[in-house]
Symmetry: C2
Subunit: 327 residues, 2 copies
């Protein structure tokens, strides 16, 4: 079966790591992908006035899955609408440390399941009067239940025993209270074991004892911060893939940005993007191929060429070729 | 001059570490403090129905400064109104690693200057319809300017060269946009050097390179999470003091909670509470004495008795006596 994959490289190193991931996917015999490229980000905005042109939206909406690289200044104008276009409700962010790589906490293997539709991301803001502004944070029972269902299922399917529900219900009693109650109810219904944690205390515990955590189910903004915190534990954003999962559609992107400081030099680490492509394979039902890509990336991280962010002097192309070689 | 100090031990280990800090203050000849004790927390709520009785509010309002220990389940019902009672606009949270102590990042010396009056802490929440809730986050120009003024002054007075303004203005464009603009304008007016950082990226960088940061000026909830994250870097909450600074009044509290698991055993680490008392000394103009207390605590942390959280088997009283001995 042929799948149509929308490919949106975006800005900066997105232009370098996205083709690398496509090369890897093309090297897999068992899949038949039709890649269709779209534009988004600062460059296209400079040309056309729009960071996310209508064609690109349609491309993502119609494709079976989307690979997105990165965007620069316009990141929020690109990624937030794209998440909506693909109807994504769950942002899945695994943070793992890899053997042989320097990490603040080498024993980390945590997957953040971040609610992807509401919270402060609803974009409801006003200037109420001069110098007085508000942002309306929205939490619904439906979305909270849905992300918890997804998180508990993910933990079960992927063999994680520890599930933690993050919240700040001692201060946001109504909104995070609802999130906490709805998510806990899902745990109860499934007879699953889980903990709940205030997100400030959780930030501390994640830094000190990441090995105690498996799947962390979070409201939107808490997931944004906690997953970046965890990126710091495992050696930086260059290694973190992510999936934006929707009912019928999904978008895969590295957690890193467009890295303008190194863009154009051909030395960006393609690992996060290739690992995002592995998540795309899983999502389309090619679990075996997804695993093979992850194993290949791990083996290259362990003993293959490394890009400068990991202390080596290899190029994006060297690393990509090594991953394909391992497949 | 005699100063009246309100002392509110609260629950759990608050009952153990607060008297320890008072003992230390009593051992300082240069100051003349009159200590008046008040009740707050779970225990008094169980008795009277109120976590923060009116007498205790008045005590804190009338005192020259307040020492607060910790509260249990009722923490938010005690500490949030107490911060209001003392008119606190700045929550000052230093996170330092100490020589000789195990720390995830031993080279950390960061002071979080957390806005203490608004954001999601305004408590404006509603259930808009069944299963749909909102929290109205408030950011004003006045409060943003005020916290930035405080932060830049603090950095200058305390010799920190790096000032970072934390925000999430790419998503909360109006509210954090205002925070960012107002705080940046203060930096410009003072011709001070500073950086701005998206708080998610900042979480990662703080974990990986805490030595690059000095003073971090944050909106309320971001400061809550980032300062706890930093507590994780330096070895946990047992070492972190904090000050809630108001125009005419102030409250000093450890960042840790009531630790019900070890309460009553006499083994709580009093360092965070004693360091909070040192901040109280600074605040009342006794800088020399504040420094002396900090030096004594550091020396005990380095080579004196240690409580179990730091791998030792000393009691709260042993550590307190050692600190007083060092003074
Ligand atoms: C670019 C920004 C809007 C985005 C977010 O806040 O979700 C980013 O930080 C991320 O985590 O993907
Ligand atoms: C107890 C809670 C309300 C409080 C807060 O969120 O400010 C605590 O986490 C803190 O940081 O002092």
């Amino acid at each position: 079966m042929t799948h149509e994959i929308a490919v949106i490289p975006g800005d900066g190193i997105g232009q370098e790591v996205t083709p690398a991931a496509v090369e890897v996917l093309e090297a897999i015999d068992a899949v038949d992908f039709d890649f269709v490229e779209g534009e988004a980000g600062d460059a296209v905005k400079a040309e056309t006035g729009e960071a996310l042109p209508e064609e690109t939206r349609e491309l993502a909406a119609d494709a079976d899955a989307t690979l997105f690289g990165a965007a620069g200044e316009t990141a929020a104008d690109v990624i937030l609408p794209l998440r909506q276009v693909v109807g994504s409700f769950a942002n899945v962010r695994p943070a793992r440390s890899y053997p042989g790589l320097d990490a603040v906490q080498p024993d980390t293997d945590i997957v953040f399941i971040r609610e992807n539709t509401e919270g402060v991301y609803k974009g409801i803001e006003s200037e109420i009067s001069d110098g007085v502004t508000t942002c309306t944070r929205v939490i619904t029972e439906d979305a909270s239940e849905k992300i918890a269902e997804y998180g508990f299922s993910y933990a079960k399917q992927n063999g994680y025993d520890d599930v933690t529900i993050a919240h700040k219900a001692n201060v946001m009693r109504t909104t995070d209270g609802l999130f906490l109650d709805a998510a806990s109810a899902v745990g109860e219904d499934r007879d699953a074991s889980y903990d709940t944690a205030l997100m400030d205390a959780l930030a501390m515990h994640l830094v000190m004892n990441p090995q105690d955590y498996g799947v962390v189910i979070c409201p939107n903004l808490a997931g944004d911060m906690l997953s970046d915190l965890a990126a710091g534990l495992v050696g930086g954003l260059g290694l973190l893939p992510s999936a934006n999962i929707g009912e019928e559609n999904a978008l895969f992107e590295p957690v890193h940005g467009s890295a303008p400081d190194i863009a154009g030099e051909g030395i960006a680490n393609p690992s996060a993007m290739i690992l995002s492509a592995a998540m795309l394979l899983d999502h389309l039902g090619y679990d075996e191929q997804g695993d093979a890509v992850r194993t290949a990336v791990e083996s290259v991280l362990d003993s293959g060429p490394r890009t400068p962010d990991l202390g080596g002097d290899a190029s994006t192309e060297d690393v990509t070729a090594a991953v394909i070689e391992e497949l």
